[in-house]
Symmetry: C2
DNA sequence: GCCGTGATGTCAGTTGATGACATCACCGTA
DNA sequence: TACGGTGATGTCATCAACTGACATCACGGC
């Protein structure tokens, strides 16, 4: 019989998500998480750098897919088309785990500290995208801007997807959002009492 | 004679910036900051919610200017033009305090926790911009996207400005960056082994 | 001259985070 | 088969970030 139950890290992730959901992030203690996972507080910190990180798995298939799709897109594509391509490729990764994604997002939306961490993760993603674009031969500023705009698009589309009661596919939301982006230089079309679905998403940090 | 020296908050901000600069953020203690300002640790926490917040003044002229310029731009302007207008109006606010801005940025660049807080502040800025754009009559998604792209543009331009040895004006950097944005749908122009000034800016959080 | 108020000080306590050292099943090897 | 190294975990101690409760006392109004 083995000395320890397997997958300590996974047990910690699971325990943390459950507790954060039940009692809120602030009200749950690292010691609690560890105990629920049958481990010690000290061991928690051997697997995660801090109390927030447990919600952001080290192995990130979304990042991998994005990087891969960006690197292998046809060389002739304009920067924004590369982004479009990459985002479209990456969408299914989230669709597969839609339940988990929504649960995580609920916890994050309820706590500013976690929102900060999420923004940092997205910034890291943008940074990685920019590097990949440079390696494709793009000039530094162009690459950085295309990457930032790509992530910005993703943020908007993702929030629409998460809050969408009708569960439209993420890929569709991304297409719509990219389409919106294309019209940003056209004269403003005002919304005069349209029957548009209005999103009352979270307003970010103050 | 008055009971306390005036401007406790200002003294704390100054003390903090100096110490963060000298010894680094991690190596300086809230108690140290307070003592140097002639106050108590407890008093520090009456003025700032945490150790990071002291670097991000509550009164934010940049945000005010952005909001104002966005709200008062001609109604006929396309969304991106409103953003362009607002960013251009806001640029001088930073130019005026270029020294302070560079000092702050150096401290922030040296510490991931501070970078997270900065991202949160920028996200709040984007959120506010989006609200203002909606109040101008823009549909929610369009507003959110335009705001995010505006902030993304600002981030890229600001980083170029801060790291620019030649001290070109921020307004110019913003114009250039917006111009770059306009070419993102054109076929990629490759940089063949240029000796381009390479920006080794901070790469974000891993 | 008394009284409420607000900015600060004092103190005690919780929790997040980290370093140093101990434990002991497992695994390869002599 | 015995032996020693290794890696994941536990134990203990300590620091610093934050917070609640209560005390202080110049100032300004009445």
């Amino acid at each position: 019989m083995s000395r320890w139950k397997p997958d300590a890290r996974g047990r910690l992730e699971k325990a943390a998500l459950e507790l954060y959901n039940h009692q809120g992030f602030d009200a749950t203690t690292v010691a609690e998480i560890a105990t629920r996972a049958g481990l010690t507080e000290r061991t928690f910190y051997r697997h995660f750098t801090d109390k927030r990180e447990v919600l952001f798995p080290a192995a990130n298939p979304l990042a991998d897919t994005l990087a891969n799709a960006t690197a292998t897109a046809p060389a002739s594509l304009p920067p924004l088309a590369v982004i479009t391509h990459a985002l479209t490729e990456a969408a299914p990764v989230l669709e597969e785990r839609a339940d988990l994604a929504r649960q995580r997002q609920a916890v994050i939306a309820a706590n500013p500290e976690l929102q900060e961490r999420e923004l940092a993760k997205l910034a890291a993603l943008a940074s990685m995208l920019a590097r990949t674009l440079r390696e494709r031969g793009l000039e530094a500023t162009t690459a950085a801007l295309a990457a930032e705009i790509g992530i910005a698009t993703f943020k908007v589309a993702f929030e629409r997807w998460i809050n969408d009661p009708d569960r439209h596919p993420l890929a569709q939301r991304i297409r719509e959002t990219l389409d919106t982006a294309g019209h940003l230089t056209a004269p403003a079309e005002h919304v005069a009492a349209t029957d548009d679905v209005s999103f009352t998403g979270h307003e970010g940090v103050t």
